[in-house]
C-alpha cells in the first residue's frame, strides 16, 4: 500500500463525503457468522466525535469525487475547481478492515460522484460491499448510496450486501431542485426508493416462508434534505419528510443546514451562518412525529408555516392548545403525558411505572428528571401548590423564557431583549 498516496486520497474523499450527515449504524440484524469479523446486531456506536460535535461511527468516504453533474449546492459539482481523486475497490476494502479491527468504526458508508454513468458507478460500489462480505467475511455495517438511474439488477445486489441504502433528495421542493440542479428530476430519486422499499417488503415476506432467504437492507433506507438553500418553509420541509416516512417506510430523514460552499448567486453566499438552530428545531419536530405520536398537522399548518425559533415545537404546540392542559400526571394516558412540555419519553415511562406504587407529587417528578421550568404550567399532580393562575399563552411563554438559558441565546438575543424589557416590571 502506497501510504502517502492513500493518505492524500483519504483526505480528499473524506472531506467531500462529510456533508452527508447520516451516521447511523443501528437497526441492522446482521450477526457474526462462522467466526468472521464484525457484528452489527446491537445498538449503534459512535466511536468518536469531531470538533463540530458530530458523531463518527462509519468510515464515510466517496469512492471518487469525479462527477458528471453540476448541482449548485454540491461541493463535488463538475464546475468546481477542486482536487479530484478516486479509490480503487481493494483500497477501500483494506482501509475498512484495518479501521474496523482497531475498533475505530462500525463499518463503511460509501457514496460516490457519478463518473461515466449510473450503472458503472453503482457497480463499483457494489463490488466493494461484495468483497467485504464474501472475501473478508465482514459482518460490520455497510451503508451504500443508491445511484439514481442504476439498473434493477444492481440495486438488488446492493441490498443483499448492504445494511442500509439511501438516496438524498437534497432539495425539499421540486421548484428548488429545478433551480439548483437542472439536470435532475424528483422522479430520479423516487424511483430507487420505491424499488428498495418493494424489495424489502418482498424479501421479508419470503423470509417468513423460507428461513434461508437472505436479508435485504435490514437497516432500511434513509434520505437527507438540505435546509436553507432554496427558501422552503419549515412546513414544506416537514410535510415532505412526513411523506417520505409514510410512503417509503424511511428509517430516517436527515436535515442538513446548508453550509455555503459556492459564490453561485442562486445560493446563500459564503460566510452566511449555518442555520443550526433551525436544523435543531426540525429534528425536534421529526422526533415528535416518530416517537411522541404527533401528527404533522398539529405542529405545522397554514396558520403556522414555520417553527418558533425561541421555543421548542412541543411547547409551541402546548401554548396554542392550552385547552388540553393541565394534564393530571397520576391519571393521564401515555399519549397525553408525552404532550406535556418538558416531559420526554423516558420520563413518561418512569411516571407510568412509578404511579403504580403511589401518587406522584412535585418532589417525585422533579427527582425523576422532568424539566419543571416548562412542565409546571401544563400539569397537576398530588400536590396542593399547583399553578392556579389562569395565564395566557404569552404570559406562560415569557415566564418560561425568563427562567431558561438557551444555548442559542445569541441567535435570538434581540427577541429576548424585547421580552425582558417588557417583563421586568412584572417579575419585580
Amino acid at each position: 500500500m502506497n501510504f502517502e498516496r492513500i493518505k492524500e486520497k483519504l483526505n480528499i474523499l473524506a472531506d467531500a463525503a462529510k456533508y452527508d450527515v447520516s451516521c447511523s449504524s443501528s437497526g441492522s440484524k446482521r450477526t457474526n457468522k462462522n467466526k468472521g469479523l464484525g457484528d452489527s446486531s446491537g445498538m449503534g456506536i459512535c466511536h468518536s466525535y469531531t470538533e463540530d460535535g458530530r458523531c463518527v461511527s462509519l468510515l464515510k468516504i466517496l469512492l471518487t469525487n469525479h462527477c458528471i453533474f453540476d448541482c449548485a449546492y454540491c461541493v463535488t459539482r463538475k464546475s468546481n475547481d477542486i482536487k479530484r481523486a478516486a479509490f480503487k475497490v481493494q483500497e477501500v476494502v483494506d482501509l475498512t478492515i484495518a479501521f474496523y479491527r482497531r475498533n475505530y468504526i462500525e463499518g463503511l458508508f460509501l457514496s460516490s460522484g457519478i463518473f461515466k454513468d449510473a450503472d458503472t458507478t453503482m457497480d463499483r460500489l457494489v463490488q466493494v460491499a461484495k468483497k467485504l462480505r464474501e472475501e473478508e467475511n465482514f459482518n460490520g455495517y455497510i451503508h451504500l448510496k443508491s445511484i439514481p438511474g442504476a439498473s434493477d439488477e444492481l440495486m438488488r445486489e446492493a441490498g443483499l450486501y448492504a445494511d442500509r441504502l439511501s438516496v438524498n433528495i437534497e432539495i425539499p421542493s421540486e421548484e428548488g431542485l429545478k433551480l439548483l440542479a437542472p439536470d435532475k428530476k424528483r422522479e430520479d430519486f423516487i424511483k430507487p426508493m420505491e424499488k428498495v422499499k418493494n424489495e424489502i417488503i418482498q424479501y421479508k415476506a419470503e423470509k417468513k416462508l423460507i428461513k434461508s432467504t437472505p436479508i435485504y437492507a435490514p437497516a432500511g433506507q434513509s434520505t437527507q434534505m438540505i435546509i436553507g438553500a432554496s427558501g422552503e418553509t419549515d412546513a414544506e420541509i416537514m410535510y415532505t419528510s412526513a411523506y417520505f416516512y409514510k410512503q417509503f417506510n424511511m428509517k430516517r430523514v436527515y436535515y442538513s443546514g446548508y453550509i455555503p460552499i459556492s459564490y453561485d448567486s442562486r445560493l446563500p453566499s459564503i460566510g452566511t451562518e449555518v442555520p443550526m438552530l433551525r436544523e435543531n428545531r426540525l429534528y425536534q419536530t421529526d422526533w415528535l412525529l416518530r416517537f411522541y405520536g404527533f401528527d404533522i398537522r398539529e405542529l405545522l399548518n397554514k396558520e403556522h408555516p414555520n417553527l418558533d425559533s425561541d421555543i421548542d415545537p412541543k411547547l409551541s404546540y402546548a401554548l396554542r392548545n392550552l385547552h388540553l392542559f393541565p394534564v393530571d400526571v397520576n391519571k393521564a394516558d401515555k399519549t397525553m403525558l408525552a404532550r406535556i412540555p418538558g416531559v420526554g419519553m423516558k420520563s413518561v415511562n418512569k411516571i407510568v411505572h412509578a404511579r403504580r406504587f403511589r401518587k406522584l407529587n412535585w418532589g417525585h417528578l422533579k427527582a425523576i428528571g422532568i424539566a419543571m421550568n416548562r412542565a409546571q404550567y401544563f400539569m397537576v399532580c398530588d400536590s396542593r401548590d399547583f399553578e392556579r393562575k389562569d395565564r395566557t399563552a404569552a404570559q406562560i411563554k415569557s415566564l418560561i423564557l425568563q427562567h431558561s438559558n438557551s444555548k442559542y441565546q445569541n441567535t435570538h438575543n434581540q427577541q429576548l431583549n424585547l421580552f425582558s424589557s417588557v417583563e421586568t416590571p412584572m417579575a419585580v
Binding site: I45, Y49, G53, R101, R102, N103, Y104, A367
Partner: protein
C-alpha cells in the same frame, strides 16, 4: 459488615443479614473499611451456595432487568451502593411479585430505587463508552491490544460485545486502574491479571511493541478524523460533552490535540 469486594461476597452478606434478621447494617468492602469505635464489625466469608440462593430467590420475585440492575449498580463501586442495593433486595423479597408484574425496580418515587436506576444508567453509559473508545493496536505477536481505565468496573459487561465482534482476532483489553484485563484467545474470553509495563503507552516505545503498520493506520485515522470535521460548524462544547477529556489519552485521533 465487611466482605471481600466480590459480587458473590456481597450476596453472601445479604444472605447472612436475612438469616440473622439483622437491622441497621452497613455493608462495606473489607479493603476500604475504616475502624469505628462503637460499631460491631463482622467479616463475612464468601459462600458460593449462599450467594446462589439469594440470586435464585431474586429470580422468583423480580424480572431479569431487576437482577441485571443489581449487578450493574454493584459494578459502579460507588461508596455505600451496597446498602442501597440491600434496600432494593429487602423490598423485593417482601413485596415483589413477578406474576403480578409488581416490579420493585420501577418504583421510581422511592429515592433509593431511583438512585439505583440512575447508577445503572451511569454504569451502562460507561460500558457503552468502552465499546466505543477502545482503540486496539496490533502488537508484534499478533495481539490487538488496548488499555482503558473506566470510571466504573465495566469490563465484565463489555466481554460479550467484543467477543461477538472480533471473533477472528486475538485481543486484550486491559484496565490499568484495576490491574486486570479481558483476553480473547479465539475460543473464549478470560479474565487475566498481569503487570503491564508503564512504557506500553509511550510514543517512543511504539515501534518496540507494535507492528510497523500500526503507526501508519493511526496516522490515517487521525487524518480521516480531521478531514471529516466541518470547521464552519465548530462546537467544542458539544465535542467535549461527547468525548470528555479524561478519555482522550486512549483515542489515537486525539493524540495530536493532547500534545498541544
Amino acid at each position: 459488615m465487611l466482605y471481600d469486594g466480590t459480587f458473590e461476597g456481597f450476596l453472601s452478606t445479604v444472605f447472612q443479614i436475612f438469616e440473622e434478621k439483622l437491622t441497621n447494617v452497613i455493608i462495606e468492602k473489607e479493603a476500604l473499611a475504616t475502624e469505628t469505635l462503637f460499631d460491631r464489625t463482622e467479616t463475612v466469608v464468601t459462600d458460593t451456595q449462599k450467594a446462589q440462593r439469594v440470586w435464585k430467590g431474586l429470580a422468583q420475585r423480580c424480572s431479569g432487568e431487576g437482577r441485571n440492575n443489581i449487578y450493574k449498580a454493584f459494578l459502579s463501586e460507588i461508596f455505600t451502593i451496597e446498602n442501597t442495593l440491600l434496600h432494593f433486595i429487602q423490598r423485593t423479597f417482601s413485596e415483589g411479585d413477578i406474576r403480578k408484574s409488581k416490579k420493585i425496580h420501577t418504583d421510581f418515587a422511592d429515592p433509593e430505587i431511583l438512585k439505583i436506576s440512575k447508577v445503572v444508567k451511569m454504569v451502562h453509559r460507561e460500558k457503552h463508552r468502552m465499546d466505543a473508545f477502545v482503540r486496539f493496536r496490533l502488537t508484534k505477536d499478533g495481539l490487538y491490544f488496548a488499555t482503558v481505565s473506566p470510571d466504573f468496573n465495566v469490563l465484565p459487561l463489555n466481554a460479550k460485545h467484543f467477543k461477538n465482534r472480533y471473533a477472528d482476532q486475538k485481543w486484550l483489553i486491559y484496565d490499568t486502574r484495576r490491574k486486570y484485563g479481558i483476553y480473547y484467545d479465539l475460543e473464549c474470553v478470560d479474565y487475566i491479571s498481569l503487570e503491564v509495563s508503564n512504557t506500553i503507552n509511550n510514543a517512543s516505545m511504539a515501534t518496540y511493541y507494535f507492528t510497523e503498520d500500526e503507526q501508519v493506520f493511526q496516522e490515517l485515522w487521525q487524518n480521516y478524523f480531521k478531514s471529516t470535521n466541518i470547521p464552519s460548524r465548530k462546537n467544542l462544547k458539544l465535542h467535549v460533552q461527547h468525548v470528555p477529556k479524561r478519555y482522550w489519552k486512549y483515542l489515537s485521533e486525539k493524540f495530536p490535540d493532547l500534545k498541544k
